[in-house]
């Protein structure tokens, strides 16, 4: 506790923990938020542990990179991580300049941080879009288990390749929709094709088991809260929930950053002779980066 030299402890003007009130409250809010996110991630881990065999592997799901053809596992999330770390750095630079009461320098670094945040949120929208429209498609068995179609070598094929053949088909379905009949007919007709579980073991059915399993099966393309072509339904639900909750944090952070930037430009903090608000919003912004570090590890890497 810092003592106010001119009067007693209870005469006001003291700052417990040598911290401004708003900054301390921001920290306490972040503690509660950290516990919320840890609850989400442990719940994710628990459900994944329970359905390990059917749990999709992130590298097989998030394989697209804008402008690049073919499978690029992890590259896009790596880019998103880089953007967020970079915007964290520009935020520290803004806070640093704010301490020295440099209005213009603070403003420029705030702009850089806002741009970083916007790029991140847009990237997430792009990733959601691709997740929702789907990639290679899946077959839902009557047991509600979702399987991939693979060839004899264990390589997963897209429904487009299954129906239109390896030469004419695309490695992803893109906008093409396939009916249950044409896909099931194509699998039955081609002796090379088997069903494969989406989990990390990539266990393939035998040809007989495949034919047997196709009774009552139907095609799944794309993912939402009810169907998920990538594998276990809960994977999609957790994906939407955790990255959505984090993305909303980033979005709120961008809004707060814009408000603080606006006040920097108005000279509000110059008149107050303190850029404490930049520091508070900075704490929130770093926290958003911190959460992403964990989401990146537990959703995409592990």
């Amino acid at each position: 506790m810092t003592k106010n030299k001119t009067s007693g402890t209870w005469s006001g003007g003291n700052e417990p923990m040598n911290s401004e009130y708003g900054k301390m409250m921001m920290w306490f809010f972040l503690i509660s938020d950290a516990l919320t996110f840890s609850g989400f991630l442990t719940a994710y881990a628990f459900v994944r542990f329970r359905f390990d065999i059917q749990w999709p592997v992130a590298e097989d799901v998030f394989t697209h990179f804008p402008g690049l053809e073919g499978d690029q596992p992890l590259l896009y999330v790596a880019f998103m991580t880089f953007v967020l770390i970079m915007s964290s750095v520009t935020m520290v630079l803004a806070v640093n300049a704010g301490h020295q009461l440099k209005k213009n320098v603070t403003a420029w670094w705030m702009v850089a941080t806002i741009i970083g945040g916007v790029i991140f949120v847009s990237s997430q929208a792009w990733e959601w879009y691709h997740f929702i429209i789907g990639d290679k498609g899946g077959i839902e068995l009557s047991s509600r288990e979702v399987m991939k179609v693979a060839n004899g070598d264990g390589d997963v094929l897209s429904l487009s390749q299954v129906v239109q053949g390896m030469e004419k088909g695309h490695s992803a379905n893109h906008e093409l929709m396939f009916s249950d009949e044409e896909v099931l007919k194509s699998i039955r007709a081609n002796n090379n094709l088997v069903l494969q579980s989406p989990g990390k073991e990539h266990i393939s059915f035998t040809r007989e088991a495949t034919i047997k399993a196709l009774d009552g099966a139907h095609v799944i393309q794309g993912a939402n809260m009810h169907h998920n072509e990538y594998g276990k339904q809960q994977f999609a639900n957790f994906f939407f929930f955790i990255t959505g909750f984090h993305g909303f944090h980033v979005f709120s952070g961008v809004v707060l950053n814009v408000m603080v930037f606006y006040n920097v430009m108005l000279g509000t903090y110059d008149r107050r002779k303190t850029y404490g608000m930049v520091e508070k919003v900075g704490l929130y912004w770093h926290f958003v980066d911190l959460v992403w570090v964990f989401v990146f590890t537990f959703f995409y890497l592990v």
């Binding site: 506790m1 503690i31 590298e59 520290v92 640093n96 926290f287 570090v293 890497l301």
Partner: protein
């Protein structure tokens, strides 16, 4: 420089940026190539996953200590922030790891 005084200049910020970037690059490269030797199982998971979790905690520590400035705050504030998080989250994880097996009994 005393313990509660933040460093001057901006060189330290870039130093930490390069460090975080290097750790992320290592994680991504390991995630893409997945070296066979690191997939050996250990403590219920693989060595690779333990490396990922370790590197994540290092990254988190640098963000909290330097970017969020916690290293330079007074001890009472530091402990008010560290203790709830460092007790409750490991506790939750501990419960899950040791009791989670029960899900297979249903």
């Amino acid at each position: 420089m005393s313990d509660h005084e933040s460093p001057q200049g901006t060189a330290w910020i870039w130093k930490i940026f390069w460090l975080l970037l290097a750790i992320t690059t290592v994680e991504v490269v390991l995630g893409i190539i997945k070296p066979e030797i690191l997939l050996t199982s250990l403590a219920g998971t693989s060595i690779l996953n333990l490396i990922f979790i370790g590197l994540t905690l290092v990254k988190a520590a640098y963000i909290v200590q330097y970017f969020m400035h916690l290293k330079y705050e007074v001890n009472s504030l530091k402990y008010a922030i560290y203790l709830p998080v460092l007790i409750l989250i490991p506790y939750l994880t501990f419960i899950l790891i040791f009791e989670g097996q029960a899900i297979f009994e249903f």
